[in-house]
Symmetry: C2
């Protein structure tokens, strides 16, 4: 069975579990703006006119689609009923609602989960107008819970694709480490990763972040073409790829020995071990049913009690079709994270665990691993970095 | 000046013209879902946390952005004021509103213009909550008019990029016509276009549509790997590319002579001439200030009065960063087109003009040209097709 057919089947099971009668994904001109849920509902079709993808608790799979877009949807053989139209979607949609009489209709909006927030406000207003004067107008609810489950609970095919993305990233990280030279810029280092992408025929999951030494700009900025590798510098690399639609997200840390050094300075070793141990602490404690912020807090307290400042980001996010996936976040209860740290961790969620300590003399000491939550804990999808990689140049 | 700097300047002039105090583009995790307006507001930055791009009638250019995303925005040197935050956007946004006291705040939602409908419903709800208890809550309006003008009125740099995209498409169309062979499938023909893309280092503006002979599937479907070129078949190709962010959209028609034929059958010639003349009629009449449906109607009536059935799509759409661009549509007043056919055509709008006649014996007879609206009429950006291309195989 194709991935999409399996995810559609999973979505229907989730509707039953949540007791939601209907899930309605309402889109138009997907080349302009694309509801991320479409990944699970159709192959990469460009939909020009308004289109409704409808799944019901009873297992009905229906699409209402403009005539010229219909043949491609039909060819994919995912839906049992494909209704095409010429002039407008209204009558067909009302007709399907009347036939199914849903008490609850989930649509894609969410304040907290961007993955469930694919319905634009203009389309929402249009939908309200279509439903004007019908009982369905007041039956719209958020599909947040559906999408949190659907994106978060990875099926085996999704796990396999992510594992492959992890493998390709790890090869790239090794390649970069083995080719570091004095005088290389951050951009030069990024080019090694680009070559790795080309070798495997994959794209970046996000623009890679390269942090060389203490002068680097921390953040999501592009690699610098000025800052160069020098003796006694940390080289932090954050690199993930998309393999067959699914992402990886991994950070590795390399230390370039000072001219007279033979091993990593104690200050670097202590910072690295703090990050590593904080990840271990969090991974040891993780269980399905715990809330995201509870795990975040374990690592956060570990770092602070080790005498370092708090890291100003979440410990871990889910990974899937997007490098930031799913609903539950292993993060602190800060305003910008909304309710996502209060959601429960579930079996088969795939998370990053990442944190840093900044060292004024050496640079950005940061690592990032990936885990899959199991029934009783978690397994690492990455080959963990247990000490800084050391290069002598 | 970079394209984005010029478009930002144009946007401020449009705010003055429309007497709108502030334009607020509110986004988050742009790798998940991306407001199309961002193309004109920032270089291709991945924004992870909530971000506000703010332009005011007085010419202020402000961004509120998460700390880790700030360096990249700063590097672009487009904005005068860049406010970065760690925990949440609320206080900074309220502070900027209090300092500027806008009476009207345009945000990106529109029922009719997908190009102005980049704000998701979840983010809209979040924005309303931020503004709760302030006078600004009731000052939100649609940015539809701003974006209709900003996307529709092409500046010279945009026209140049589109012309280049047109040129590359035209080379591809010629290449395909010169390489048609009997027995080639629609997919084989599409591969010729793919090679043309690779030669010029461009991407498709949309998946190309190839219609070979009478058995083809009309619509936005993928080219068939079964239907092949035969004697006496029409080959219709719809092919556009993206050059430096801007699209082209052109259809060309080729006739494969029957074994004993030396010229195009009269039935094909008459259908082609009807399409061509309908385009000429529409282009001759077009003037800034006219409404979209008025021009559509000229071509529509011409086709029907020539004895053919009405074509079930709009005569022309705008082209820009998306192959379907801008606000005004040269189309009929059908439900699915909303108010867009009633908007006014403006100087420097770039439109397609396209229509078809279906011939049961030969196939899909369709052509598509591109025009730029001028002060007194229009100029063609395409080298018009004046008769079907003929190949003898």
């Amino acid at each position: 069975m194709s991935l999409i057919k399996e995810k559609v089947k999973q979505a229907i099971a989730i509707l039953q579990e949540l007791n939601i009668d209907m899930w309605l994904t309402y889109v138009r001109k997907t080349s302009e703006i694309r509801d991320p849920s479409l990944f699970f509902l159709t192959e990469n079709t460009w939909l020009t006119w308004q289109t409704c993808f409808i799944l019901t608790k009873e297992g009905k799979k229906i699409v209402i689609v403009g005539r010229y877009d219909a043949p491609d949807i039909k060819k994919q053989q995912i839906y049992d009923e494909i209704v095409s139209y010429d002039l407008g979607i209204k009558d067909e949609l009302l007709n399907i609602l009347e036939r199914n009489k849903p008490e609850t209709i989930a649509v894609n909006y969410s304040e907290d989960n961007v993955a469930a927030d694919g319905l634009t406000y203009g389309l929402y207003l249009k939908l309200r107008k279509i439903l004007e004067g019908t009982p369905y107008k007041d039956r719209l609810i958020s599909s947040e819970k559906i999408l949190t489950a659907l994106r978060g609970r990875k099926i085996p095919e999704e796990v396999d694709r992510i594992k492959k993305a992890v493998e390709i990233s790890e090869v790239g990280h090794e390649l970069l480490k083995n080719n570091i030279q004095l005088g290389m810029t951050e951009t030069d280092l990024a080019n090694i990763l680009k070559a790795n992408n080309e070798k495997f025929g994959v794209e970046y999951a996000y623009p890679p972040l390269i942090n060389v030494g203490p002068e680097t700009t921390i953040g999501h900025g592009s690699p610098s073409s000025i800052i160069t590798v020098k003796h006694g510098y940390l080289v932090n690399v954050d690199y993930g790829v998309i393999y067959d639609g699914y992402a990886s997200d991994i950070q590795r840390l390399t230390y370039v020995l000072g001219e007279k050094e033979t091993s990593v300075p104690l200050e670097v070793k202590k910072a690295f071990d703090t990050c590593k141990n904080a990840i271990t602490e969090a991974a040891d404690k993780i269980r399905p049913g715990m809330k995201g912020y509870e795990i975040d807090n374990i690592a956060r307290e570990y770092v602070v009690s080790s005498g370092y400042p708090e890291f100003m980001h979440a410990l871990g996010h889910q990974v899937g079709i997007n490098v930031h996936d799913g609903g539950c976040l292993i993060g602190p209860k800060w305003e910008k994270y909304g309710r996502s740290p209060e959601l429960k961790i579930e079996k088969n969620n795939i998370f990053t665990l990442e944190l840093h300590v900044y060292l004024e003399k050496y640079g950005y000491c940061s690592i990032e691993e990936m885990i899959k939550v199991t029934e009783n804990g978690c397994v690492f999808l990455t080959n963990r970095q247990t000490e800084p990689w050391v290069v002598k140049l």
